[in-house]
């Protein structure tokens, strides 16, 4: 398999706290890769390093073999690394159309309106384009967030807790949507909901105390003693 994103020895400390501590990581072309771990394991810090929102202290990140370790966040987005926020972060006072258009126009899409229509139809929000984003239901705002990610036409889409706060009926639709994105887009999925991760992911990386505890298929992870210990000894609510 080809690695789209590869990280070696990635490290970020905050004072004495080793939020991310020498992580090696491979994201392979076309996979859905789950990233799990107890609260405070460093998941969000890790993807913030990948997306460039936090500068790396040491280690190397490559995108299709090109070193992007010191590339600013907005240029990584242009190169194809898209990030959707954990806390819904649409523009509430702009229309749905403008929200998605902002994503599409930035990479120089020829027909912005067509791109917007396509992205909205993929998440099932056709017809809502003139609504104010802030007036949408929470579930629709999460979908809008994904539509903005899609309109960027990314190589890699990083989804930070996408199903948080969704009703169980909405989660099934969401899973189908994610499945329909691969293999054109590679997905890195940070998720608390174990059922979703186990169901969707091809491979899973488990972080604990800023380090990689295990990497493997969902079945391997389920059977892994170290992972079980980390979860039982750590955050019981997770899982």
């Amino acid at each position: 398999m080809v690695a789209v994103i590869e990280a070696r020895g990635l490290t970020r400390h905050f004072g004495g706290l080793r939020a991310v501590d020498g992580v090696d990581f491979r994201l392979e072309q076309g996979e859905i890769h789950g990233l799990i771990g107890p609260n405070g394991a460093g998941k969000t810090t890790f993807v913030s390093l990948l997306s460039g929102r936090i500068p790396v202290q040491s280690g190397v990140i490559t995108l299709n073999g090109e070193d992007i370790t010191h590339l600013p966040a907005h240029l990584r987005v242009r190169k194809g690394v898209a990030y959707t926020f954990q806390i819904t972060s649409v523009y509430p006072r702009l229309t749905v159309f403008d929200n998605v258009a902002l994503a599409a126009q930035g990479r120089g899409a020829g027909d912005v309106a067509a791109e917007v229509a396509q992205a909205l139809s993929r998440v099932g929000m056709t017809g809502l384009d003139q609504s104010m984003a802030g007036t949408l239901s929470y579930g629709h705002q999460r979908l809008l967030e994904v539509a903005m990610g899609l309109a960027l036409r990314p190589l890699v889409l990083i989804l930070d807790e996408p199903t948080q706060g969704l009703a169980s009926g909405e989660i099934d639709g969401f899973k189908a949507l994610i499945r329909s994105l691969v293999p054109q887009t590679t997905i890195l999925l940070i998720e608390h909901n174990m059922d979703v991760v186990m169901d969707l992911a091809d491979r899973i990386t488990v972080l604990n105390f800023g380090q990689v505890l295990a990497v493997g298929t969902p079945d391997q992870i389920r059977a892994n003693r170290a992972v079980q210990d980390a979860y039982l000894g750590g955050d019981h609510a997770a899982g």
């Binding site: 966040a73 907005h74 509430p92 403008d98």
Partner: protein
Amino acid sequence: MTDGAKIWTLHLLVLAAVFVAQFLLPPYHATNLARIMVLAVFAMGYNIAFGYTGLLSLGHALFFAAGMYGMGLPVWHLGWLSLPALIAGLVAGGALAGVVGLLALRTAGVSFMIVTLMFAQAGYLTLLYLNTWTGGDEGFVVLSEARVLFGFDLATDTARFITAFTLFAAGLLACLLLVRSPFGRVMVAMRENEERSRMLGYDPFRIKLLALAVSGLYAGLAGAAYGMLFGYVGASFATIQYSILPMLYVLLGGAGTVLGPFLGALLMFYLIDITSNYTDAYLFVVGAALVGLVLFAPKGILGTLRERVWRWLP
């Protein structure tokens, strides 16, 4: 009618009405209107930074003065004529805004307000300090030989009105095109959520710098035109008052609306003009208007109108 048709109809109607006003109004009010149009150009520039991009500057007097002196100094010292001098003013405003932006845009919010305030104050003091070149506190009169544009004497009422109107119309239409363009959408995105915009691939620093420079071009053009049309260049135009005025106009008319700056300038000008017949307490009117607006109508007149009735208003 589509939204686009409604928008163009409204703005062209406003321009037509303003143009016709010069034939209907007595000379005193026509001159006022010329003054208001030039100040509205200044306020439109302020609106591009504050209303659309969310950059609350307290230093726009610096860019207005840059335009005024950028026009006036070459006329005085180098004998330049109207058109090149006006262009020099326009460029000076934009360039200075760009330079200030390179530094000030490393800060945000309250720090940005204070940094722009301090730069403007330093600019004002520099005008006083270099008084052999700038005329200091007293300023200087723009030579009448330079105040001729395409053969028209700008000291006459008609030529002054037409010139002010031309600049105003060009500024208004350019602003309308800008805010309805993809770049306008990105400016608003910066105002609404900078971090989100970064993660859509936009460099916030670059976008804000561009917006501030465009804003400075407007301010510079307005400053140059003000000096050229009314024949006087002075350091009082660089004081903090001239940073507050465009803010007041924009807040009153509606921040982030194309017509708001003109409406705000028009109403505020006449509010002060009318109240000064009864009382000399014009500072109180300005102060009370500022407090009243932030307390009771933070969106201004057109902003409120857009929220309630005309959702298509740009």
